[in-house]
Symmetry: C2
Subunit: 118 residues, 2 copies
DNA sequence: CAGGATCCTATACGATACTG
DNA sequence: CAGTATCGTATAGGATCCTG
């Protein structure tokens, strides 16, 4: 029995599927930054998120928020004002990404030092 | 001084840039799975990684590995065999992503439970 | 075995304008 | 304010075949 057929290899396959499952939901340029914006404040309006994220268009923000809602990472709350206000916030499931997002923030700072220079 | 001009807001902007820096390097469907494959074993050949990741093509694997090498996350080592063998491994900088990848693995399992059913 | 070359499609993404 | 509609480009990614 070699390393591809034993339990070690099977565990590996399982972990590979899990990490791919995560990426199905989180990959792309904007989802993590959007979630990060909502991590920091726990209520955030559409236009605030639009302002938080450098370079995103309203079209993409709208589209990505919809997908995040479908995947139960954020919830949308419409306030009865004029004109309407919409608040977005992380669900409990969304909050379970906080550690990962904080680590990605720290890693981004470290990475810049490694690449751009010491 | 409102929340957009004080230190709290400035810190937020800084964190937003950091997380976007991370995503510039890591976003896309394949990079995290590729790194995950190399996390588990610490030496991994091209064809092994190809086998680890469900659905990836050799063209994409080749392309993504190059970008990861440019960003100093992996290193490439050619062994003098016939035909050639190529070993990939994480750099020290690449290893600094291990925590994030492990968390993403756990999160993928949890997410499947949330979405598909309890 | 480890890719590169070629060709193709899908979709991610951007810009701008419009609306209740 | 919080989107939608429309249009366009760029790139991500897939399939297949080829090579030292």
């Amino acid at each position: 029995m070699n390393c591809h057929t034993n339990d070690f290899g099977k565990e590996h396959k399982k972990e590979m599927r899990a990490v791919q499952d995560s990426m199905d939901v989180l990959s792309g340029k904007w989802k993590i930054p959007i979630l990060s914006s909502m991590c920091y404040y726990n209520q955030r309006r559409f236009s605030d998120i639009l302002n938080d994220i450098d370079g995103i268009s309203n079209r993409m923000l709208s589209k990505e928020l919809k997908e995040l809602e479908i995947n139960q990472l954020v919830k949308r709350k419409v306030l009865d004002t004029h004109p309407v206000t919409v608040q977005y916030q992380l669900t409990e499931h969304g909050k379970s990404l906080k550690t990962i997002i904080n680590n990605l923030t720290d890693w981004g700072i470290a990475h810049r030092k490694v690449i751009i220079g010491k």
